[in-house]
């Protein structure tokens, strides 16, 4: 088991999670490629009790109708707390991938159903794709979101049938061949297969969260449907929604599309080159040959030479969540979410900032999810990233047990080294490691050494320098374009 380099370990933790502290990075490098990936994807084996305890003490979701304790803001605080404190970062990252893939918004579904959906996506994140897709199709949030509940015999609603194909499985055209994957007729026929799909709360079930799927027979279209007519995947008969899911999940177009989405989220953007097409086909084979197992596909991708290639390094733009949670985890900053138990005792800074960076959890812009990479970047969202960096460094709470987000003086001191060069290098390493070139290192050193008149005044390792300049340096590094990349 060959170990991997520190930079490779940092890369792996940034992509499979939200970035690691130097100690965490050292740990994964020792495990080697397969070992490290195995540990990260077999996350159910990792003890996460500290986070579970924190969640129990910080949230009260006992009653979904109790709106001060259960609402969208609280759900967002809950997820950010998970991402910040989990020891199973890939579990959260993969849930985030599916939240973006099956993008559903609480603005239409309400908070209870989006919460249930999030739990479902988390527990099936690495399942067989057919199983996950069926759960999604029968999920109350999805049935509300894409109008499944009003899709009835005689008057089908095409919303889910269209997005099932366009966004959730194959895409409009085949990723490799460019051929059209389905027709408008298929949208209509598939909409009929899903008629009558609804959900209900069992009458005597005391659990207010437990909703169940049901197919309402009188509203279901029990006539013959024909899908993908004239293609190798053609099926005809009294098809059910389940039949459609099995058919679509088995199409190679789905395998290719999923590989492309996973690559563009986790590895690097693909172009239309022959080499990239071969890459897609290689991983599409894994999906097809391993019974559509998401876990096996993920394992293949993260242990691949493509993932560890130079091309993949800093090839993506960090999402807002990766910026926010990443900085906290890499720097070892303190986020105390507080508790919902009493008014004003909680802190939802992370979720609020994320909105201004362009990613409101549980409220993606539309069913196609967030636009990744340069989609995150415009002048406003960048300024807001800089303002987040500022917020992270300027809070100096008197009460260290109070809810909030801050970097302690002791933590800052640990970053400060005996001279400006070492201090700059230490923080560029902690926040990346980032390779910014000699000139930029020089400019950051000059910043550390400059007084308020802009004159070079040298670097002294005292409390004022730590409080003023080391905080300022972290702000500036987080404003660098290199830091925006993942």
């Amino acid at each position: 088991m060959a170990s991997i380099t520190y930079d490779e370990g940092a890369h792996l933790l940034r992509r499979m999670g939200f970035g690691g502290s130097p100690v965490e990075i050292d740990e994964v490098t020792l495990l080697g490629r397969e070992g490290a990936v195995d540990q990260l994807i077999n996350y159910e084996q990792i003890d996460n009790r500290a986070m579970d305890d924190l969640l129990r003490n910080s949230f009260d979701f006992s009653d979904p109708v109790d709106s001060p304790r259960f609402n969208r803001g609280e759900l967002q605080r809950w997820w950010f707390t998970r991402m910040t404190y989990t020891r199973r970062p890939f579990e959260e990252k993969m849930t985030l991938f599916w939240h973006n893939h099956f993008a559903t918004s609480a603005s239409k579904t309400g908070d209870l159903f989006i919460y249930n959906q999030n739990l479902m996506l988390r527990s099936h994140a690495l399942d067989q794709f057919d199983n996950l897709l069926l759960r999604v199709a029968q999920d109350p949030a999805m049935l509300l979101w894409l109008d499944g509940v009003t899709n009835v015999r005689g008057k089908p609603n095409e919303n889910f049938a269209r997005e099932l194909q366009e966004l959730f499985t194959m895409g409009i055209t085949d990723v490799i061949t460019g051929e059209q994957n389905y027709t408008e007729e298929d949208v209509k026929e598939i909409a009929r297969a899903f008629t009558g799909w609804k959900f209900f709360h069992p009458r005597f079930d005391p659990n207010p969260y437990s909703y169940q799927f049901i197919m309402v027979e009188p509203e279901h279209d029990n006539t013959i449907k024909t899908i993908y007519d004239g293609t190798p995947w053609a099926r005809t008969g009294n098809l059910s929604g389940e039949d459609v899911i099995v058919t679509v999940s088995a199409r190679r177009a789905t395998a290719r599309y999923l590989v492309k989405k996973l690559f563009e989220f986790f590895v690097y953007p693909l172009d239309g080159s022959a080499a990239d097409k071969a890459t897609i086909e290689k991983f599409a084979d894994v999906y097809m040959n391993r019974n559509h197992s998401i876990k096996e596909l993920i394992r293949a991708i993260f242990t691949s030479d493509e993932f560890f290639s130079d091309r993949a390094r800093f090839a993506l733009v960090k999402s807002p969540v990766e910026i926010i949670v990443g900085a906290i985890r890499m720097l070892g900053a303190r986020y105390n979410p507080g508790t919902s138990a009493r008014e004003g005792a909680s802190n939802n800074t992370l979720a609020a900032i994320s909105i201004f960076l362009g990613q409101e959890l549980f409220n993606p812009p539309d069913v196609s999810g967030w636009k990744l990479n340069l989609g995150w970047i415009n002048t406003s969202t960048l300024l807001n990233r800089f303002t987040y960096a500022d917020l992270l460094v300027v809070d100096r709470p008197r009460d260290l047990n109070a809810p909030g987000l801050w970097l302690s003086h002791e933590q800052l001191r640990s970053f400060a080294k005996k001279n400006s060069k070492k201090t700059v290098k230490r923080l560029l390493s902690t926040l990346g490691p980032l390779d910014v070139g000699g000139e930029m290192i020089g400019a950051l050193r000059a910043y550390l050494e400059r007084d308020d008149q802009g004159n070079a005044a040298g670097f002294a390792l005292d409390d004022l320098t730590v409080d003023k300049k080391v905080r300022g340096l972290i702000h500036l590094i987080m404003c660098l374009s290199e830091f925006q990349l993942n």
């Binding site: 269209r162 090839a315 800074t349 909105i355 812009p365 406003s380 100096r396």
Partner: protein
């Protein structure tokens, strides 16, 4: 949520802003094919996202097919009246949705051109692809450059002040995607600032200068990092200008806070009134994907077709346009501003079972403002069964690129062929 937003903003208020030295711009290569910048010919684009239902926006109240296709959603002739009882009928065939009282008023004053049946060949019913087609003006929606981004690359590079911006939305619309020009995206003015530690105001210039050094570095063109870096540079440069300018805005027009489009258009007015070069502005209003609950009140009563999700959105649209137009008039800018409203597609003429409509094709677009020659243009697509496609959708009559070409040629003084890649005939709503 509000608490932190306030914190975010409060952090700005305490900040000492110091004049910065703007590093030399990296623009020298771009002058070759420039066209003249016309700051007194301003364009405001209003995108209604989700697919606006054209058949209930401009109602063919004499067409029996409209009524047979929409037994519950159709607006009767007698329903084409505003809340005050004023008729919204604009011709012997058409009436505006009764929620559009203010637009009707502007129409009567000759300030509104309605182009009927706007779409494109081989219509795509995907929101995302169809939006891309409209944004890029490319038949396949290919590429990352938008039609206004191409215009910006030709006309706006090298202007020292803020000339273009997308307003009020978290994302920059693809219409404004450019190769070299970075179009600012401004969510709100108070957040649009570069902040540093308020405990050490004396260190602010050191922060700013180091930031500017970083953002002025040459990065490989076409790469993610290159795009991030040029956006970073433009963001702080623009932020300084916005912070200097927009606070000078005063207006007697009051925009209601519960109308998101009005909030966006107020920001547009604020920029136009305080930055003379601000001339290409873009706002969006979402929520038009009315697969369900297009009509009906909150109790689920569907008997009143004049209320519901669609009516609320059109009310916002109409009210915001009026207030914005009033504000422009107050600032002496109304003759300089042309507004274009578009949506990625219309909706199907036949209603669905959810009191809504599914994705459609052609729909009317609106051009509004003093420069417009008001009236009806284009042609309403036929609803006859033989004229509908297999999905039940209508055939378009006017290519949306004809409207773009009209704006580029007759308003912005650009060569539309250079921007759109082909020659399109002009529609006639200008000049």
């Amino acid at each position: 949520m509000r608490v932190t937003r306030r914190q975010f903003i409060k952090r700005g208020a305490g900040m000492v802003t110091v004049g910065m030295v703007i590093p030399k711009l990296l623009l020298s290569d771009a002058r070759a094919e420039q066209i003249e910048f016309t700051p007194h010919r301003k364009l405001v684009v209003i995108q209604l996202a989700g697919g606006n239902d054209g058949f209930n926006t401009v109602v063919s109240y004499t067409d029996s097919r409209y009524y047979s296709l929409r037994p519950t959603l159709a607006l009767r002739e007698t329903e084409l009246r505003t809340a005050d009882g004023a008729s919204t009928i604009i011709s012997n065939q058409f009436g505006l949705h009764p929620a559009m009282a203010e637009i009707k008023h502007l129409y009567d004053a000759g300030r509104v051109a309605v182009v009927l049946g706007v779409g494109y060949p081989n219509p795509n019913l995907s929101h995302f692809l169809s939006m891309d087609i409209w944004h890029t003006a490319d038949a396949n929606g290919a590429g990352s450059r938008g039609w206004l981004g191409k215009y910006a690359d030709l006309a706006l590079i090298g202007q020292p002040n803020l000339t273009a911006a997308s307003i009020g939305s978290l994302d920059l619309p693809k219409s404004l995607g450019a190769d070299r020009f970075v179009v600012p995206n401004i969510i709100n003015f108070s957040l649009y600032n570069f902040l540093a530690d308020p405990n050490y105001p004396g260190d602010y210039n050191n922060q700013l200068n180091t930031f500017n050094f970083a953002a002025s570095r040459t990065m490989s063109a076409g790469s993610f990092i290159g795009a991030v870096n040029s956006t970073a540079f433009e963001s702080v440069r623009g932020a300084q200008q916005v912070q200097r300018s927009v606070s000078a805005y005063k207006s007697s027009v009051s925009y209601p806070a519960n109308n998101p489009l009005a909030t966006g258009l107020q920001m547009v007015a604020q920029l136009m009134a305080t930055v003379p070069e601000a001339s290409l502005l873009y706002v969006q209003l979402g929520g038009f994907d009315n697969h369900s609950n297009q009509i009906g009140d909150k109790q689920g009563d569907r008997s009143n077709t004049r209320v519901g999700d669609h009516a609320t959105l059109l009310k916002w649209f109409s009210e915001a346009i009026k207030l914005f137009h009033d504000d422009l008039t107050e600032h002496g800018l109304a003759d300089e501003v042309l507004m274009l409203q578009w949506s990625e597609f219309g909706r199907r003429p036949g209603e669905n079972a959810s009191f809504g409509t599914d994705h459609g094709t052609a729909a009317p677009i609106f051009l509004i403002g003093n420069p417009v020659r008001g009236g009806l243009y284009g042609e309403q697509p036929s609803l006859a069964p033989t004229e509908l496609d297999p999905a039940g959708n209508v055939k378009f009559r006017v290519d949306f690129r004809e409207a773009y070409a009209t704006i580029l040629d007759q308003w912005l003084g650009a060569d539309s062929k250079a921007v759109l890649g082909a020659q399109y005939s002009n529609v006639g709503f200008l000049g």
